[in-house]
Symmetry: C3
Subunit: 154 residues, 3 copies
């Protein structure tokens, strides 16, 4: 029963994490297949794309889980899904023939920034509740849920 | 006391994480020693093996913790241990002289797949408990514990 | 309210994680800027430094969170901050002109070792509490807090 209570607060985060893991597996399979095809230039490009995605992966996971635990899981999971979509676009764009139009090393700045801000606001709220005795948890959840939808603006 | 309750649900996961960290440290020390020996080809091979292991590491951690939190820690930790053994074999195999027999980029598919399935089943069970009011948590724990032993089949 | 209880036990860890994420973002921006400048040797050096930092990042996160959850968050967060400082020094040292004086692949050994020991002691304490019924949680918190200050010795 204990566990059930914990799962209630994190199940959306777990679902997004699961999707990100499946995406990682997709990347890895893509890379392995490319490695067997023997084409050096396209292997290099895929390898570079996978590596850039993997470099950013722990950062993404850490910030999504922190934001989800500190404030509210729904907007954090939503930003996580957006990040995964951006990452997929980045990966496909990197593999494309028009390598000059590829994005750089950093991608998914907006979802990550949103998650970092969520973390900061959550921590500030906790400190305020601790020191001043005022807690804006409920308002915070509403505001972050509303703000998360702003991420959809291209 | 609060903390003690949390630790009860995760201590096996923490132990496996600790072993994986020690293994990472072993890999890093191996790579550093190789770097000092000055042999370029063997350094390249170790560096490549370490990098492949490290690329898959956050994925492994994420999926093991999610599976452990959502369903039950014992089978998740067991699959984690198996993954660490597979990883060690992969690393040693990669460093070996017979580089043509090295495994590819993806390794430890079976434990990871098992953990992903555990996550999915756990989430499904949570959603069913939420929407339909039926909870198969106890059965789930037994089934996953039994299934985990199937991973031992080579 | 549930969530507030959880946040109480992890807010220091979240803050350190947030700082590490910001540092990662700083590294990534540095690398991207270097990539645009077109100087191959300095790009290689920054890229190598970023990659070494990123290889060790999941290990650091995992061990810090485990230590923080199992024993006490304050010393774990303190060691985390020290690790981030060491990492910054490592990164700057790697980029410097005097590339022969750069540190190797492994860095921040002391904070990581301290966190691993904290994890081990925490798990041992849990097992002792479980099997022998003796719990030294309070003493453990004091001792680790005191030991953490020893990390400051250069």
């Amino acid at each position: 029963m204990e566990n059930q209570v914990i799962v209630e607060h994190i199940f959306l985060l777990v679902i997004v994490t699961l999707f990100s893991v499946l995406q990682n597996a997709f990347f890895a399979v893509k890379l392995e297949r490319e490695g067997k095809s023997g084409c050096a230039t396209s292997f290099d490009r895929v390898s570079c794309a996978v590596r850039n995605c993997m470099d950013a992966y722990p950062t993404f996971l850490a910030v999504m889980w922190c934001a989800g635990l500190c404030v509210s899981q729904a907007p954090a999971a939503f930003a996580g899904v957006l990040y995964l979509i951006v990452r997929h676009k980045y990966f496909v764009g990197y593999m494309g023939q028009t390598s000059q139009s590829t994005p750089g090393y950093v991608f998914g700045k907006r979802p990550i920034l949103f998650l970092i801000l969520m973390c900061m606001v959550g921590i500030l709220n906790y400190l305020m509740a601790y020191f001043l005795g005022r807690c804006y948890k409920a308002q915070l959840k509403t505001v972050t849920s509303l703000t998360a939808s702003l991420l959809l603006i291209p």
